[in-house]
Every structure is written in structure tokens, then in C-alpha cells.
């Protein structure tokens, strides 16, 4: 079997053009390997031949991306590689961005398998996440040998169509998808062993890292409620008795709005909750305790706002975040169309 045709993408520094003063280097196509391409060729051995190296200045890519992409696409079409390797970029931000973009271009735009590598915290990673395999490297070029070796291992799997092992085993930056696997040991055995390491001051590793949630800045409060239109929104699954629209009890994908005109409170005879996350009896006896229509009617008088004539309901129990985001956006749009200024959102 003949050797793979490989094209290597590097920046101006690794391409031997120059330092930061040459960061505006226009993409050029060089024959054979350049700079760390020698190491790459060494690691590929007879499996692959670096037929060309694309050298592009980090600033050029950042500032004139469209033009850079056009030129690089042309180079890739011309050289027709079986595999594209980008970088590794380590912790360099602009280089990481360019590597990610070129790898994504190859995979998505041109259908050419591509692998890149960078430090896991390189902000460039998000531009090829889920699109091109990215080896997890160290912060600096001191890790070039390990980084390039990781890239080559991933490239082999990519070309063979082999399923990947977990990120930490196969050395790639995870897309953060969690998949079920079987471990050789039971959870109890793993827990005791890891705990003893922790107690003994030895290294240990969590299997579920703590998440970093993004913060949603709250809008400024209404200066005065007088004359404002307020609406009741809830995830407590309060619906007309019998749940005519079949709102789910868990993992909600739907939301509904039900009329409040003429009602002073929500009666247990007419409404119920179908929420699967709390014992339903109290809310079934008095639905106002989850959707406080009675309190709002009272406050309408004293505070001078008007209550929008519908309340909005969905189910927030084990609801995937993507669904929650969509439901929130759809309800928000409806609220805006209804001229609502403020929302009382009741949660369970």
C-alpha cells in the first residue's frame, strides 16, 4: 500500500519564515516538510509522506481569514492530500485558532481527514470541537515530541475509522460528551481506592469534574410596577385537570399558555400538577401554591400592575438544557409579543 499523502499546516515561526515580525505572512505552499514537519515525517515513517507544507502568518489568518481560507483551500485541492495535520499550536491563541479553522475546513469543507493539536485551554479549540480531532498537548513547544506523537496516533485511528476511547486514554481534547462505559472494577472498589489516595495525600482523580455553569446576568428590575404588565410563568407543570395537552411529567419538551381571564384563583377542581419531581398532593389541593394567581390578583389592586391574561407552563424535571433553552426563548418571544414587562417565574 502506498504511503499517505500528507499536508502539514504551520505558522510563520514553525515554517521558518520568521518571528512575530512575519506574522502577516501570506499563505504559501512549500514542498516537503518544514520545521516540526521533519519530526512528523519521522513519526509517520513509511506510512505517510509530507508532500507539502502550508505556511501562514498568524496575523494574516486572524485579519484576512476569508482570503487565507481561499488560498489554503486552493492549496489543499491542488495537493490532494489523504491527511491534513495542523500545528500543534500549544498555547498560542492565534495559531490555535488558525489550526482549528484549517482542520475544520479540511474535514467539513473538503472532506479530507484532519487532525490538529493544542493545549486544552487554547481558545482556538472551540472552532474545531466535534469537527476535527485535536490532540491534547502541553503549553509550550517543549512538548513538541509528545504532542506530535499524539497527533500521529489520533491520525491513525481517524484514517482507520477506529472508534475512539475516552479522551484521557486516547489523548485528545474532549468534546465533553459523556458516554457510558464499563470499568474493570466496581464503583465501590474505585471509591474506596480513590478515597484512600485522597486521605493519604496521594493523587486522585474525579470521574465527574465539577461543571462550570455560565452566568445569566439578570435584567434590571422594574423601577415601578404601576402600569406594568406582568405575567406568571412556571415550570411546575400546572395544567387544566386531565392534562388535555399532554404536558410531560419529566424531560419537558412543550410549553403551554392557559387563560386567566375572569379567574381570581386556580381551583383544585379545575387544575392539577403533573410534575414528576415533587409530591403532587399540596399543589393538587391548591394550585395557587405553585402558580400564585390569588396573590397576584390581590397585588394587582395594591401595586397597580395588570396581570397578563394567560399563564405559561412547562415541566422542569430532568429537562435537558437544550430543551430548556429553546422553551425559554419561545416563551420569551411570546411574552414580548404580548407586551409583558415583567415575569414572576415560579420554580420547584
Amino acid at each position: 500500500m502506498s504511503a499517505l499523502r500528507v499536508v502539514h499546516y504551520v505558522n510563520q515561526f514553525f515554517g521558518g519564515v520568521g518571528g512575530e515580525d512575519h506574522a502577516d505572512h501570506r499563505p504559501s505552499l512549500e514542498m516537503g516538510p518544514k520545521g516540526p514537519g521533519m519530526l512528523l515525517q519521522d513519526l509517520l515513517g513509511d506510512e505517510g509522506r509530507i508532500v507539502a507544507t502550508i505556511v501562514c502568518g498568524d496575523s494574516f489568518f486572524a485579519v484576512s481569514e476569508a482570503e487565507a481560507v481561499d488560498l489554503i483551500s486552493a492549496f489543499l485541492s491542488e495537493t490532494a492530500p489523504d491527511l491534513v495535520i495542523c500545528g500543534p499550536a500549544f498555547d498560542a491563541g492565534r495559531y490555535g485558532y488558525a489550526c482549528a479553522k484549517v482542520a475544520a475546513l479540511a474535514e467539513q469543507g473538503l472532506g479530507i481527514p484532519a487532525v490538529t493539536g493544542m493545549y486544552p485551554e487554547n481558545p482556538g479549540f472551540q472552532f474545531c470541537r466535534g469537527i476535527a480531532l485535536t490532540a491534547a498537548t502541553g503549553r509550550t513547544a517543549a512538548g513538541m515530541r509528545d504532542g506530535m506523537a499524539a497527533i500521529v496516533r489520533l491520525a491513525r485511528k481517524r484514517l482507520a475509522g477506529e472508534p475512539l476511547g475516552p479522551a484521557d486514554e486516547d489523548g485528545y481534547i474532549p468534546t465533553q460528551v459523556r458516554k457510558n462505559t464499563f470499568h474493570p472494577l466496581t464503583g465501590a472498589e474505585r471509591a474506596v481506592t480513590a478515597l484512600l489516595a485522597k486521605v493519604g495525600g496521594r493523587p486522585y482523580r474525579t470521574e465527574i469534574p465539577l461543571p462550570a455553569y455560565d452566568r445569566v446576568p439578570p435584567p434590571l428590575p422594574l423601577a415601578s410596577l404601576r402600569g406594568m404588565r406582568l405575567a406568571l410563568v412556571t415550570e411546575a407543570s400546572v395544567v387544566p385537570r386531565g392534562n388535555p395537552d399532554r404536558l410531560e411529567s419529566a424531560r419537558g419538551t412543550k410549553w403551554f399558555k392557559y387563560p386567566l381571564e375572569g379567574l381570581q384563583d386556580l381551583a383544585g377542581e379545575a387544575y392539577q400538577t403533573v410534575h414528576g419531581g415533587f409530591a403532587n398532593a399540596i399543589v393538587n389541593a391548591d394550585p395557587d401554591r405553585a402558580v400564585p394567581l390569588d396573590a397576584m390578583r390581590f397585588l394587582e389592586q395594591s401595586e397597580g400592575f395588570s396581570l397578563y391574561d394567560h399563564f405559561y407552563v412547562t415541566t422542569g424535571m430532568a429537562t435537558p438544557i437544550a430543551d430548556s433553552l429553546r422553551i425559554g426563548q419561545e416563551i420569551a418571544r411570546d411574552l414580548q409579543q404580548a407586551g409583558v414587562n415583567g415575569v414572576l417565574l415560579t420554580a420547584t
Binding site: K179, N180, G187, A191, L195, G200, T206, E207, A318
Partner: protein, 425 residues
């Protein structure tokens, strides 16, 4: 002077199970008389009928509507088992106990659905072969499946109590078949003093304590509103904790796993070698923030009284219940007791959601028992036991289906009994 407590577990493994005229154990072959089982169960008039069937590993069998899984155990002499339910509490966790190993009594049935979406029975499946079998430990045990039909007019508590009591009676009766026989294996558990240099470890065990259908009993008493308390590990082995939890099958603790508490067994195996097993703390799920905090601080103080250096904190249920696990973890860490948490993930069907619904910065060591939301495709089966219809889905349970992991009995067990976990890709 106190005498040192010991418990000898005599095991009688079962490799073959069939129904027949007489209940008897010959070698590893167990025959069970359905007539005997029915007679035993039907002494309770709350039970209208019971169907008795066998489900063997590798057979094309699907068991649905699983309520509890119980390992047959009883003590010689008066045949004590399941203290508080069937026997006196005195004598629990000491002396000798006989068990049928690799065997389980599986209670199935449809409980009254009075419309509460939370305190409700959820689908619970065991596939004895095929794709789904890998995820349930009970695909590997020889199972006696009891399908209960209850007399009309019972309230939820009565239904649950009748089925639980009947199941425990059958489990004890079956274990009693071993009383005159020599065991295949005997293990004597002790907790001797150690030299004082070994790290002291406790098992802090969360119980589901939400109320009917989502509950646990200790010595026959519901643990709803329990304060954190201590339990000797040997009491687990003698059936002190009985499940009344019919919520998600993957994550709940059937009685079987309390009886075979994997954390206690691991700690006992290593006691005197690289750790000192200092005991077990039970803690509930509390209904609101102040009570969660009160309970968590007290649980941590109990661990402190046991002079714990470290705690394995096992969860039960998920969501709200995981908040209490995190409160307990924080309370322990803040008084210098290091923790390892064992809990199920809720990472969504695609695995893209955050695994945790709540966390504290101190929870830096969490062992995952897998994502409960993964969908498993299972194929058709020849034999269906436990019921005719899914509780919550459409279609014939005999056909292939797309089951969420959380509906497979034992899959995400949060005592750490299983090897399923999740990794990042």
C-alpha cells in the same frame, strides 16, 4: 466486657433453578414448589393471587414491573430474617446467616396509581439475555419471579406492605432449605481493633425517604423523616434495610444490594490492611434547605464520632436527593473528613448535559455509576414476566424497545455494585 461481634455468612450457590413438587436444594440445583410459595403468600388476604415463574440467565425472558429484588437469607435456629418485618431485632448482625447465592426473589406487580407523578411506580426491567442483560446484575442470577395481584380496595400503603411482606416471607422460606446442609462457602466477618495507624473510613449511605413507593425501611419502620443514624455493617447483611423504592430502577437500591452492601464488603475486605472500617451512617433526603443542612451537619458529626478520616458517601435516587449528598459532602470536608461520592449522572440522552444537578466545591472526588439517560435498544423476547403492559409506554413489552438506562434494574446502582460508569469523549 463486650464480646467481639462476628457474623458468619454461609453461602449456598444456585446454578440451576426449576419449579417442582418439593422445595429442595441438591448441590447447586434448587427446586421450588409453586404450591408452597402460593400457600405461604396467600395467607395474607390482601393478596388475591400470585403467579410463580423462573427466569434463568441466558433465557429469552424479560421481567417488567419489578418492585424489589431480595436475596434469600435466614438464620439457623428460629429462622430469623428481615428484623422488624418477620423477626425480632435482637440477634441481627451476629452469629450465623445462611444465604442462597446467585439467586434472587423478584417481586413484580402494578401498584395503585392515584395520579401522583412523583410518588409513583416507574417502569423497571430485567432482560435475561440480549443487549439489555449487560446492564442488569439480575440477568446473571437465577430468579424466582413473583407476580402479585392484589385484592381490590387497598390503599397504596397496604398494597406496598402486602407485597413486601410476602416477598420477604418467600425469601426467608427459600433460604431455610439450606439449614441442614453444609455450605459451599463460609465467610466470618469481624471488625477487630487495628493498630491505630490505619485511616478510619466510614460508609455514609443515603436512603430514599420520600414517602410511599419511594421509601426505605429500617428494622421494618419507614425511614421517612429519619434523623441521620448509625448502622452496624453486619446489620445490612441481615436485612435491616428493606427497599420500598419503586422509582427509577437503575439508580434505586433493591433490598438485594443492602444485603450485599458492596461498600461495606470492600471496606471489610481491606479492614486491617490499608484501612480501618469504622462503621456506617445512614442519612435521609430532606424536604427543604434548613432540614437538609441540619441533617447533613448531624451526619457529619456522627462520622466524626466514629473518628472517620474518610467517608464513602453513596447516593440514592437523583436530582433533589443529590443535593443532600452534596450537603453531607461539604459538611464532612469542612470538619476534615475526606469524601468520595458515588452517584449516577443525569447527562441527558446525548451525554451533553452537565452530569450534576447540584454540587459543592468540596466534592472533588465523585465516582460515576453511569449516565441514566442513555437509551438502550433491546430486542424482542419469547417470555414476558411481571406484567402485560409497560407502566408508562406504549407497545407490547415482548417486542423490541428503546429503554432509558434508568429503567433497567440495577444499572446505575449508587452503592457502587456495578462497573458501569461514564467517561468523556
Amino acid at each position: 466486657m463486650r464480646t467481639a461481634r462476628t457474623l458468619t455468612l454461609a453461602s449456598y450457590p444456585v446454578q440451576d433453578l426449576k419449579l417442582g413438587g418439593e422445595t429442595a436444594l441438591v448441590g447447586t440445583s434448587l427446586t421450588i414448589s409453586p404450591a408452597r410459595v402460593e400457600a405461604l403468600v396467600l395467607t395474607d388476604s390482601r393478596i388475591q393471587s400470585v403467579q410463580v415463574a423462573v427466569a434463568l440467565p441466558g433465557s429469552s425472558t424479560r421481567i417488567i414491573n419489578v418492585m424489589d429484588v431480595v436475596e434469600p437469607r435466614c438464620k439457623p435456629g428460629l429462622g430469623a430474617a428481615f428484623p422488624g418485618w418477620l423477626s425480632a431485632v435482637a440477634g441481627t448482625g451476629q452469629g450465623r446467616t445462611h444465604r442462597l447465592a446467585n439467586m434472587a426473589v423478584i417481586a413484580t406487580g402494578r401498584l395503585l396509581d392515584d395520579g401522583d407523578s412523583f410518588l409513583s411506580q416507574q417502569d423497571a426491567v430485567i432482560d435475561m439475555s440480549g443487549e439489555g442483560a449487560a446492564f442488569s446484575p439480575f440477568s446473571r442470577t437465577c430468579n424466582l419471579v413473583l407476580r402479585f395481584t392484589l385484592a381490590p380496595g387497598l390503599d397504596p400503603a397496604g398494597q406496598d406492605e402486602a407485597i413486601r411482606r410476602a416477598t420477604l416471607k418467600v425469601a426467608r422460606e427459600l433460604a431455610a432449605v439450606t439449614l441442614e446442609l453444609p455450605p459451599a462457602e463460609e465467610v466470618t466477618y469481624t471488625l477487630p481493633e487495628t493498630d491505630g495507624n490505619l485511616p478510619r473510613v466510614v460508609h455514609m449511605c443515603e436512603l430514599t425517604t420520600f414517602g410511599r413507593y419511594f421509601d426505605t425501611s429500617l428494622y421494618g419502620v419507614s425511614t421517612q423523616n429519619i434523623f441521620p443514624t448509625l448502622l452496624h455493617p453486619f446489620d445490612f447483611f441481615d436485612g435491616a434495610l428493606v427497599s420500598g423504592d419503586y422509582h427509577y430502577a437503575g439508580q434505586r437500591n433493591p433490598t438485594y444490594w443492602y444485603q450485599n452492601n458492596p461498600v461495606a464488603k470492600e471496606l471489610l475486605a481491606r479492614h486491617g490492611q490499608d484501612l480501618h472500617f469504622a462503621g456506617c451512617v445512614l442519612f435521609p433526603v430532606c424536604p427543604d434547605d434548613p432540614s437538609k443542612e441540619r441533617s447533613a451537619r448531624h451526619a457529619a458529626r456522627l462520622a466524626e464520632l466514629l473518628q472517620a478520616d474518610g467517608a464513602v458517601v453513596t447516593a440514592a435516587a437523583a436530582g433533589n436527593a443529590h443535593i443532600d449528598v452534596m450537603f453531607v459532602t461539604r459538611a464532612c470536608e469542612q470538619i476534615g473528613i475526606r469524601t468520595a461520592v458515588v452517584q449516577v449522572e443525569m447527562s441527558g440522552p446525548s451525554g451533553e448535559d452537565p452530569a450534576l444537578v447540584d454540587f459543592v466545591p468540596e466534592a472533588d472526588l465523585i465516582i460515576s455509576t453511569g449516565n441514566r439517560e442513555q437509551i438502550i435498544r433491546v430486542g424482542p423476547v419469547e417470555q414476558l414476566l411481571g406484567g402485560e403492559r409497560w407502566l408508562r409506554g406504549d407497545g407490547d413489552p415482548r417486542h423490541g424497545a428503546a429503554l432509558p438506562m434508568r429503567d433497567i434494574c440495577g444499572s446505575n446502582n449508587e452503592l457502587g455494585a456495578e462497573k458501569l460508569t461514564a467517561q468523556v469523549f
